[in-house]
């Protein structure tokens, strides 16, 4: 069971949260000119690293706010929590996808 440090409420049990998948996916601009492959990439293709994964979570049964979280998909260790719209912390530069 994960102990997730909600940036608004502090550490809470995983059962209060829902995982929203990969973070930092930007809706592409110029959608009238996108190819089918570009649409497929935006809609369906996802990072699925064996290592550090940047993902979105929502404190569903708490403050009901979304935030970003960096977590290892191998050890489940939570490495950082940061707010929506913020870039990943500098300490994680180059770490994404690496084994942890």
């Amino acid at each position: 069971m994960l102990l997730i440090p909600c940036p608004f409420c502090g550490p809470r049990d995983e059962s209060e949260f829902a995982c929203g998948g990969e973070a930092h996916i930007a809706r592409p601009t110029g959608t009238d000119r996108l190819s089918d492959a570009e649409w497929a990439d935006y809609l369906f293709m996802r990072k699925n690293p064996k290592g550090v994964h940047l993902e979105r979570w929502v404190h569903r049964l708490g403050c009901r706010r979304w935030f970003n979280l960096a977590r290892s998909t191998v050890s489940h260790e939570i490495l950082a929590v940061y707010k929506m719209g913020d870039p990943p912390p500098a300490s994680l530069a180059g770490e994404e996808g690496k084994r942890a």
């Binding site: 998948g21 649409w39 497929a40 369906f44 293709m45 996802r46 690293p49 191998v74």
Partner: protein, 419 residues
């Protein structure tokens, strides 16, 4: 290749006389050769079935199956062993039905008892709306010529008396869909039987051999890098389940796949009490009784991505809650063990079987939570795809291109809960 001794009552008696000390090994463990015609990455049921049908149906025997761990140690040995073909859409129905037909003759074909038991598979409805949804699926399945029937409450009570039929249950039972030809099989035996059959036809099964990279030049695959050296091959088939994305990354393209833990459990063994497979989407559990007497039950996936082969206790707790909701009589059963496997989930809950942007490289992945039932059919169509460099009509709709072409095969209803 020395012919294998046939397994039979006579070989059993003969070996009993010598205290079972002289059984020959079921498959060899050769050193990898520097080159093969085809390399299969992943020694689970699907990969071994692919190698078996490459040799049997297409005469391609210069094949290696590379397994990073041991045969039957991944998802093949971790699933809940349910086999059925009651899928909604034509594409899936035909693919899974082809697999089910192969299951029906598999023990004889392999000369290995896979303990395929057609004890019937129930999908419960807990509301009039769910009953209508099931009716739609049952009729669609019948139109595809596949056995499927709708049971009303009285028929269901006669078929499976053990369920909690109280109208005061939190999720009262309204009826069910039943596929009588569905059932269970011995999962380890499927891997062992295919391994033995492939080995007898000349396939090299190489365990403890992890693929760490692909040799690709001019958009064409020439071989694989492994922990036991470089192995050249003109064609490479990847059947790596939870690690499909990792291998696609190495080959330089993206997949629409997310890897999640999927957890299951077995109880202590008890005397025969449940003679069918029961699944419920609303309370989210699926349960059958193994031949050893253990209840085998499975949960839904954990919501987060993981490669750890373990999940969170809350998912297991929910699974037990659902079991007790359906069968209050099981509330005193002790649980022997729980475990997890890593499943590769596609956005439409349908697999990807076919060619990739790299020539000579084929992927069979994305089976998500329900790949075991498809093992023979998956290997059969994948072998055809590799041998002919084009998909069989049964799997042409399951190409990676469907995500850009828009022909999504949405099987959340048939695959989302019931595995």
């Amino acid at each position: 290749m020395p012919a294998k001794t046939r397994y039979s009552i006579f070989s059993l008696v003969r070996n009993a006389i010598s205290y079972h000390e002289n059984w020959e090994e079921a498959w060899r463990s050769p050193e990898p050769r520097p080159e093969y015609d085809v390399v299969i990455v992943g020694g689970g049921g699907h990969g071994l079935a692919t190698a078996y049908y490459l040799a049997k149906e297409h005469g391609i025997t210069n094949v290696a199956v590379l397994e990073k761990g041991w045969i039957g140690g991944g998802n093949t040995g971790r699933n809940t062993t349910i086999v059925r073909s009651n899928y909604l859409w034509d594409e899936s129905a035909h693919l899974y039905e082809h697999a089910l037909k192969l299951w029906e003759g598999l023990s004889q074909d392999l000369n290995f008892n896979v303990m395929f038991s057609q004890r019937g598979v129930l999908n419960l409805a807990h509301s009039p709306h769910e009953m209508r949804g099931l009716a739609r699926r049952v009729y669609a399945i019948q139109l595809n010529g596949i056995d499927s029937e709708l049971l009303n409450l009285e028929q269901l009570k006669a078929y499976c008396p053990l369920l909690n039929y109280s109208p005061h249950a939190r999720y009262p039972i309204y009826g069910a869909a039943l596929q009588r030809r569905g059932g269970t099989a011995r999962h380890d035996a499927v891997a062992w039987g295919y391994a033995r059959g492939a080995d007898a036809r000349g396939v090299d099964i190489i365990q403890n051999c992890e693929v760490t990279g692909f040799q690709i030049s001019n958009g064409k695959v020439n071989g694989v890098e492994t922990t036991r050296g470089t192995i050249r091959a003109g064609k490479v088939g990847v059947v790596a389940a939870g690690h499909s994305s990792v291998l696609a990354d190495l080959a330089g393209f993206r997949l629409p796949i997310q890897s999640h833990p999927l957890q299951a459990a077995v109880s202590e063994p008890v005397k025969p009490i449940l003679d069918t497979v029961v699944m419920s989407g609303a309370v989210h559990v699926y349960v059958s009784q193994s031949d050893k007497g253990e209840l085998v039950l499975g949960a839904g996936i954990d919501s987060y991505n993981s490669y750890a082969q373990r999940g969170s206790p809350k998912v297991v707790e929910d699974m037990f809650g659902a079991l007790i909701e359906l069968f209050p009589i099981f509330s005193r059963l002790k649980i022997l063990r729980t475990w997890g496997g890593i499943v590769d989930v596609c956005p439409d809950d349908s697999p990807i079987i076919g060619k990739t942007p790299v020539e000579g490289l084929y992927f069979n992945c994305g089976w998500g939570t329900g790949g075991f039932k498809a093992t023979p059919g998956s290997g059969w169509v994948f072998a055809h795809t590799i041998a002919n460099d084009r998909p069989h009509p049964l799997n042409e709709h399951f190409a990676l291109e469907r995500f850009s072409g828009g022909h999504i095969i949405d099987e959340h209803g048939a695959a989302g809960v019931a595995h």
